[in-house]
């Protein structure tokens, strides 16, 4: 059995009195597309933050290619090949679309400050390669026409694509997408699924947080379901979709279904609205 590319074991994260993640474990094999789903506030983004180094785990380990990456700074983890996007976009607004994507190439280029300061030929050559690579990625995702536009002038849907393009430009080993389809039209979503599919065929490994079930069903190989920070289900999309605990988590309490799944016998009513008003914002 080949070793997994990314292995999360017993991952826990607490914020003061709140446990955002509790004992979460799963593995991602090379070339796999793993989807993370769950109601709002389940801890999905926190999971990403811990895996990519923006937050330190309270307990548990994250292993990438067999080696622990706990506690490493996010730039180190990204430089190792784990590239993520953000749910609240962080495009570089003042730079053009092309420049944004060129920044993505940072991790596999090597011009240091000194070489850059002296405008050495190697630096200039590399810059040309970076520009070409960036254009190729823009063509792949369909943003080639807006290459010279300022990033902040793009509508949100296109900005999302830009962020994905930028992540792609980094030639990641694992691409972690945080709600890539949020804010996209149906057409854009289909396009996104096509792009992800093409990349999958080329062997890219994905870890995707998604609410949009179309994307999950079509693109994911396996699904992990989080609720209140715990993993409550894992398996193929079709299996997870039918899992009673998952249904209960999303749809609120059907007392029978909950009892059948062994959750909270005689359990309390769960709010129907997925957004959780009392939990802290960063869960």
């Amino acid at each position: 059995m080949t070793a997994p590319l990314l292995a999360v074991k017993g991952l826990t994260r607490r914020f003061g009195g709140v446990t955002a993640l509790e004992d979460v474990s799963f593995e991602v094999a090379a070339g796999e597309n793993l989807a993370i789903i769950g109601p709002n506030g389940a801890g999905k983004t926190t999971l990403f933050n811990v895996v990519t180094g923006f937050l330190a785990p309270s307990a548990g380990t994250v292993r990438y290619r067999g080696r622990s990456i706990n506690g490493l700074p996010p730039s180190r983890i990204a430089a190792a090949g784990l590239i993520r996007t953000f749910q609240n976009l962080v495009v570089f607004g003042e730079m053009t679309v092309l420049e944004n994507v060129m920044v993505g190439c940072h991790r596999w280029t090597g011009t240091g400050m000194l070489a850059n300061a002296l405008a050495l030929p190697a630096a200039r050559r590399e810059d040309g390669e970076v520009a070409a690579a960036a254009r190729a990625v823009l063509a792949l995702v369909g943003l080639a026409g807006e290459a010279q536009a300022a990033a902040r002038h793009l509508p949100v849907g296109r900005q999302r694509l830009l962020e994905i393009a930028r992540a792609l430009a980094a030639r990641p080993d694992v691409l972690l997408l945080d709600e890539p389809a949020a804010g996209l039209t149906a057409e854009e979503t289909r396009h996104l699924v096509r792009v992800i599919g093409r990349l999958r065929d080329e062997g890219m490994t994905f870890l995707v947080i998604e609410h949009n079930m179309d994307v999950v069903m079509e693109a994911a190989d396996r699904v992990v379901v989080l609720d209140y920070g715990k993993k409550i289900a894992e398996g193929r999309p079709a299996e997870v979709q039918r899992d009673a605990r998952v249904i209960a988590a999303y749809l609120g309490d059907d007392a029978d279904a909950a009892a059948a799944a062994g959750e909270r016998p005689g359990g309390a009513r769960r709010p129907q609205v997925p957004a959780r008003g009392d939990a802290p914002a960063s869960t």
Binding site: N40, G41, T45, F54, L55, P73, P74, S75, A78, I83, R84, T85, F86, Q87, N88, V90, V91, F92, G93, E94, M95, T96, M102, V103, G104, H106, M113, N116, A117, L118, A119, A123, E126, D127, G128, V130, A131, R152, H153, L154, P155, A167, A170, E179, A181, A182, G183, H211, M213, D214, Q241, V246, I247, Y250, L251, P274, A275, A281, S282, T283
Partner: protein, 400 residues
């Protein structure tokens, strides 16, 4: 390579550089007086400091302590040359090394602070260094300063005229401009601007944000220190007063006038503010005979306010924006204003009036994009797109 985005910018800058160098070469021949030469020399020195400050600005940082580094460079080189007998050509780099060490020491704690508090830390450092200049009397000569600083010499012959120093100073200034300009392009330039745009986004792409910020900070200090060292050997007498807080504000004004992210603006800013200063000094005594002291601070204060309100990206840039406006292109300065405050707005949506900056930058830097879909309604800073996608709109029934 032809369509490489840097290419057109490079050829434009090279052309500008050539014109500048040619112009500078003939200035000494056509300059009307020694006074003008001296003025141009000062502009050259200020250009070096301002360019360093602007370089710092491209990564989104502002320092109000450049006068401290300017002063350490000046005192360092003066003491090495005068008291230790070093040749000024060795003393100046030596002083820069000293400044670099100081900047590292200051940067280590200071760079962990969020924007505004970082600025204030640099302010504090500036004041502390200035006080030390006055208090460490045996070393620095105290408030009366240091005299008899050796001049620069080439081939054994000391440089004595403003004309001779003109060439030295402006050679260094040109080199400083070129290096700074190079650093704002290609990989390093993009990394710095990415840090300005979003530190989190930059880190998520593998950019070592703390390392870049430290290096740029130290470099900007080195620029100021080099200028200070040159200054010491040029005027041959230094005292603590040119290195006080107002000098740092002065440098900031020059950077702001030139455009906090526009390297060539360093030259424009230094020249414009120095010119303004000269005019004010000449005209004010006529209008207000009673005054002594630094009355021009009132003018600079108002200038600073006006620029930060109307041209936060600098007057030089503001001019370019107006041209685009007249051509009917993308919005000019007024509409761009919330986004055009190049200093730090970048891609961030921080606003005063209710948004409290945290002291430690880890809090601030990692705060917003790491939260899940925000339930807090966000007032869109930019007209078009909503800040965060609507909650749960695409959640579908898992049954389907």
């Amino acid at each position: 390579m032809a369509d490489c985005p840097a290419a057109t910018g490079v050829s434009r800058d090279l052309a500008g550089l050539a014109v500048l160098a040619a112009g500078l070469a003939i200035v000494p021949a056509v300059a009307p007086s020694a006074y003008v030469m001296a003025l141009l020399n000062i502009v050259g020195l200020y250009t070096i400091v301002t360019v360093g400050l602007i370089l710092l600005g491209t990564s989104g940082q502002v320092s109000l302590g450049q006068a401290a580094f300017y002063g350490v460079g000046a005192y360092g080189s003066a003491l090495l040359a005068r008291d230790l007998g070093w040749s000024p050509w060795l003393a100046m780099p030596g002083a820069v090394v000293l400044v670099v060490a100081t900047a590292y020491a200051v940067g280590l704690p200071a760079l962990r602070l969020a924007d505004v508090f970082f600025v204030l830390a640099t302010l504090g450092v500036g004041i502390i260094v200035n006080v030390l200049m006055i208090q460490l009397d045996p070393l620095t000569g105290g408030a009366s300063g240091l005299r008899d600083i050796p001049p620069l010499a080439i081939g054994g012959r000391p440089l004595t005229t403003d004309r001779e120093y003109f060439y030295v100073i402006w050679t260094v200034a040109l080199a400083a401009l070129v290096v700074a300009r190079n650093l704002t392009t290609r990989r390093t330039g993009r990394a710095l601007r990415a840090i300005l745009g979003s530190e989190i986004g930059a880190a998520a792409l593998g950019i070592d944000v703390p390392r870049y910020r430290m290096r740029v900070f130290v470099l900007s200090a080195a620029y100021a220190g080099a200028a200070g060292a040159l200054y010491a050997h040029y005027v041959r007498f230094i005292s603590p007063s040119p290195f006080a807080l107002y000098a740092s504000l002065f440098f900031l004004i020059m950077a702001v006038v030139g455009g906090l992210t526009n390297i060539w603006g360093g030259l424009f800013g230094a020249a414009a503010v120095t010119a303004l200063d000269q005019i004010v000094r000449a005209q004010m005594p006529r209008l207000f005979p009673r005054i002594g002291g630094e009355y021009q601070t009132a003018i600079y204060g108002i200038v600073l306010i006006l620029i930060m309100i109307f041209f936060p990206s600098g007057i030089a840039r503001g001019g370019i924006d107006l041209r685009r406006l007249l051509r009917g292109d993308a919005a000019g300065p007024a509409t761009d204003r919330p986004a055009a405050a190049d200093v730090v707005s970048g891609g961030s949506r921080k606003r005063a009036f209710g948004r409290r900056p945290r002291v430690r930058s880890e809090e601030e830097a990692w705060a917003s994009p790491l939260t899940e879909t925000s339930r807090r309604p966000q007032v869109p800073a930019r007209g078009d797109a909503p800040a965060s996608p609507p909650v749960g709109t695409t959640t579908e029934n898992p049954h389907a």
